[in-house]
């Protein structure tokens, strides 16, 4: 097993709690001097809490949003801790620098296992070693004769054993080890097994607590309305009318709109109905989808077409629409601001910016703020934002009472941070062997990079147009397809519509482009799309294996009924990184002679290194494929008169049961360190479907969604 950080020292910190028990903290950045008893209270109990009555709580750094981060991370700790899997409890961490990965305490990038693989196992192993040492000391026997297993330390020569709870207080007085010894894979009892997900029991009986389910004593409910034109301001409203509604307690201005606060959700909604709220102005005033396309087209044309001279030339344009996240749980946050403190309960992927938002609205220091992360009813990047946090805190600050802000589906649909609309031109010249000799690409889309790193806006640079795409940028790692003669230019286009991360930016745009174009080139060269792709993978053995394996699994090349076709595509995630997951898919579709499309079957092969919980990996592939398919078939946000035209699931259609194909997933056996699974499958399914449509009908889809486009 590859362990890149094997030698990094881990500094565990421990202490007892009142009444005994063990709190295990851990610092990856501070010197060991901070270990007990000098460590401050708040730095302890950050990872593991073992009470004297043997209750074990694991504090995990990642938010649970359906990707099974809680289960996977608990498995990492419990494996090394030798804890009894059935008796542990898992909670999401509070805000603290120790839970930061790269620059923020946040969950995303499919990193919950990959980023915490080393650290969480070390925390578990270090704690186990202390419990073993405590037992050995208590019994007066050598440490080597004691063994940790399933929540017990036992000494077989004397037949004695004690559970962790009984040893917790004694262990807390010991000095923590510097470099705990991690298990070797052959010693794993939990890792690599499809353990049931930790939250399944409360998700089937209604007791799982999402943000919207938080209830605080004296809590009020707020309904909000925000300017439908992005960046617009409130002009007027009839406060008295709203306050005349039964149960309405207050009308509070929020940054770009108004909140009506009442004793129930229904009363708040009724108050909002009669508020006669008027808005004015905004960044997207007058914008519609025709203008969006015209602006993108102008930017694309502004870059100018290239001169391509070759035996065969592909000259095509592609486009993709704005997309909405559509989490099933709408945006919400519960806040309680008092004169000197603020608590928030929020389904968030981003604790760092949540804390910042609270501090900004309240003026409090971070010591005065507590962030409680609930379960997230879907996230996909939307809950990395904090607009709903600022709103709840603003309202609670005004009323000094606990307030829950819940958006209507309409607000949620019309105030997203959308996946950017995009337009791209490819001009590729092929040599006599059918391989590219010149690859010209131009792309115009809103600057997604600048949303998060404003400096990119100053130099008109957007890395999100480059990653997951064949490119020629000298300082950035190359794409897995080895292609010669590449020239990429891009122009960011500011349209005044908020953009954000949508399950695997930039791949969810660029993989459609790249894998469609590769398919077009294969056909232009008169070669099989699988065989053609393999020619570019001489330096990418894992990609090659995944493609070949998925082809075998899907029966690539075997005869199909008339009207059916197969398409293939591949992706890696994260793009341009040293450690990545590879996902390859084959989609099989049918098109009736009336042009009705059905995706029948999807085969997927994933290489994500060592699969910590294979069933969770499969679930992420299944779900990623269905979400990607939904985007390919149905989804688009359009604009009318400066605002989003869609407002709910009746006009923003997402995939249903009847759209769902048979999905077969297999996992490449690997002993490399694990890599992510939340995002890799969402992107390649899209071109796999459109490539399959081409195979079935000869119709090339260059604009999404497929929607009502004529296929025959």
């Amino acid at each position: 097993m590859k362990n890149t950080n094997m030698n990094r020292r881990t500094f565990l910190k421990v202490t007892t709690v009142a009444g005994g028990g063990l709190l295990v903290g851990c610092s990856f950045s501070s010197p060991k001097l901070l270990s007990t008893p000098q460590a401050s209270e708040e730095e302890l109990g950050m990872w593991i809490r073992i009470s004297t009555d043997n209750k074990i709580t694991l504090i995990v750094p990642s938010s649970e949003m359906g990707q099974q981060a809680h289960t996977g991370q608990a498995m990492l700790v419990a494996e090394e801790l030798e804890a009894d899997w059935n008796s542990i409890k898992v909670v999401t961490a509070p805000v603290h620098p120790e839970y930061i990965r790269s620059s923020k305490q946040s969950t995303g990038g499919s990193g919950s296992i990959q980023d915490w693989w080393e650290k969480l196992r070390q925390v578990g192993a270090g704690t186990r070693e202390m419990l073993v040492a405590a037992a050995a000391r208590k019994w007066g026997v050598p440490v080597e004769e004691c063994r940790a297993e399933n929540g017990q330390i036992s000494h077989s020569p004397s037949g004695r054993s004690l559970n962790y709870g009984k040893l917790a207080s004694a262990a807390a007085k010991l000095s923590p080890p510097d470099s705990p010894t991690l298990k070797t894979p052959d010693q794993y009892r939990l890792l690599g097994k499809s353990l049931p997900k930790i939250h399944t029991p409360t998700m089937v009986n209604g007791f799982a607590e999402f943000g919207i389910d938080v209830r605080r004593p004296g809590m009020l409910f707020a309904a909000v309305s925000q300017s439908p034109v992005f960046g617009g301001q409130v002009r007027s409203y009839d406060e008295a009318a709203a306050k005349a509604v039964k149960g309405v307690e207050a009308v509070v201005p929020i940054p770009n709109g108004v909140a009506v606060v009442a004793d129930s959700t229904w009363h708040a909604k009724q108050g909002l109905e009669v508020l006669k709220l008027q808005f004015a102005g905004g960044d997207s005033t007058g914008l519609d989808s025709v203008k969006v396309n015209a602006r993108l087209r102008a930017a694309l044309d502004g870059m100018g077409k290239a001169e391509v001279t070759a035996e065969k030339v592909l000259d095509v344009e592609y486009e993709m629409p704005y997309l909405y996240h559509a989490t099933m749980e709408p945006m919400n946050c519960t806040a309680h601001v008092t004169s000197d403190s603020c608590e928030v309960w929020v389904p968030t992927q981003n604790q760092t910016d949540t804390l910042k938002a609270v501090m900004e609205v309240t003026g409090f220091s971070k010591d005065q703020v507590q962030v409680h992360t609930t379960l997230l009813g879907g996230a996909f990047g939307r809950r990395a934002e904090w607009d709903f946090v600022s709103q709840a805190v603003t309202v609670s600050k005004a009323l000094k009472k606990p307030v829950q802000v819940v958006w209507s589906r309409e607000e949620d649909t019309q105030h997203d941070f959308y996946r950017p609309a995009s337009m791209s031109r490819f001009q590729v010249g092929l040599g006599s062997d059918g391989l590219p000799v010149q690859w010209e690409r131009q792309v115009a889309q809103p600057n997604l990079g600048a949303r998060y790193i404003p400096q990119f806006g100053l130099i008109d640079f957007d890395p999100f147009t480059i990653a997951a795409s064949v490119h020629d940028y000298p300082l950035l790692p190359k794409h897995f397809y080895k292609v010669e003669g590449v020239e990429v230019t891009h122009t960011p286009v500011d349209l005044g519509v908020p953009v954000g991360f949508w399950r695997s930016p930039p791949n969810s745009i660029n993989v459609f482009y790249t894998e469609s174009v590769l398919d077009e080139l294969a056909h232009l060269a008169g070669q099989d799309p699988l065989a053609y792709r393999l020619k570019f993978l001489s330096a990418s053995p894992r990609h090659k294996v995944a493609l070949e394996q998925v082809a075998v699994q899907a029966g690539w090349g075997s005869p199909l009924p008339e009207g059916n076709g197969r398409g293939i595509a591949i992706n890696d995630w994260p793009p341009m990184e040293e450690d990545f997951t590879v996902a390859a898919v084959v989609a099989e579709v049918s098109i009736t002679n009336r042009g009705k499309l059905k995706v029948h079957r999807v085969d997927c092969v994933i290489d994500c290194g060592f699969a910590v919980n294979p069933d969770s990996v499969m679930a992420q592939m299944e779900g990623g494929i269905i979400m990607g398919m939904s985007a390919a078939l149905f989804e688009q946000i359009t604009l009318e008169d400066g605002r989003v035209a869609q407002s709910n699931f009746d006009d923003y259609r997402i995939a249903r049961m009847r759209d769902t194909p048979e999905i077969n997933v297999s996992i490449v056996k690997s002993d490399s360190a694990p890599t992510g699974t939340g995002e890799p499958a969402t992107s390649p399914i899209v071109p796999a479907i459109t490539n399959a449509i081409f195979a079935a009908t000869g119709k090339r889809i260059r604009s999404l969604p497929i929607g009502k486009q004529k296929l025959v």
Binding site: M65, H199, M203, W266, M328, F380, R409, M657, E662
Partner: protein, 141 residues
């Protein structure tokens, strides 16, 4: 229940009764996250008022069984259906009702009967779990 009769059942269940297993998803009877049973009929509780259901027997996810022992819940656990879990109360209530009407549903009948939305994409497992629940229900009876 002390609420005005024009209150949607969903909000009365969540805010007044205090049972939060029934979820809000769309408010226009599109997503099914708020599905409850009235008698044995599945109803999207966002689209019906308290006045319309006065005196009727309403079952929410919390009241489906003692200790999550309903065959549909057991099947959901066996197939490990939920991802984020938010839509699953509604999915389960819809499945309970589907199996009442069609004890042996075909895939096509599941397609037609299960209209609840799931953004995580648990549909393949929902389908498997309904078939499994169908088997479990036969064992019970």
């Amino acid at each position: 229940m002390d609420v005005e009769s024009d209150t949607p059942l969903l909000w009365a269940i969540r805010d007044t009764v205090g049972l939060t297993g029934t979820k809000y998803g769309c408010g226009i009877q599109q997503c099914g996250a708020c599905t409850v049973l009235i008698g044995k009929r599945p109803v999207r509780s966002c689209g019906i008022t308290v006045g319309e259901v006065a005196g009727k027997d309403i079952t929410t996810i919390e009241g489906l069984s003692e200790g999550s022992k309903h065959p549909v819940q057991l099947a959901w656990i066996e197939e490990q259906v939920p991802q984020c879990g938010y839509c699953q109360s509604g999915q389960i209530m819809a499945a309970v009702s589907l199996l009442e009407q069609k004890p042996n549903p075909t895939d096509q009948e599941i397609d037609r009967g299960m209209l609840n939305l799931c953004r995580c994409g648990t549909y393949t497992r929902v389908r498997k779990a309904i078939h499994r629940a169908s088997d479990l229900l036969k064992e019970v009876s």
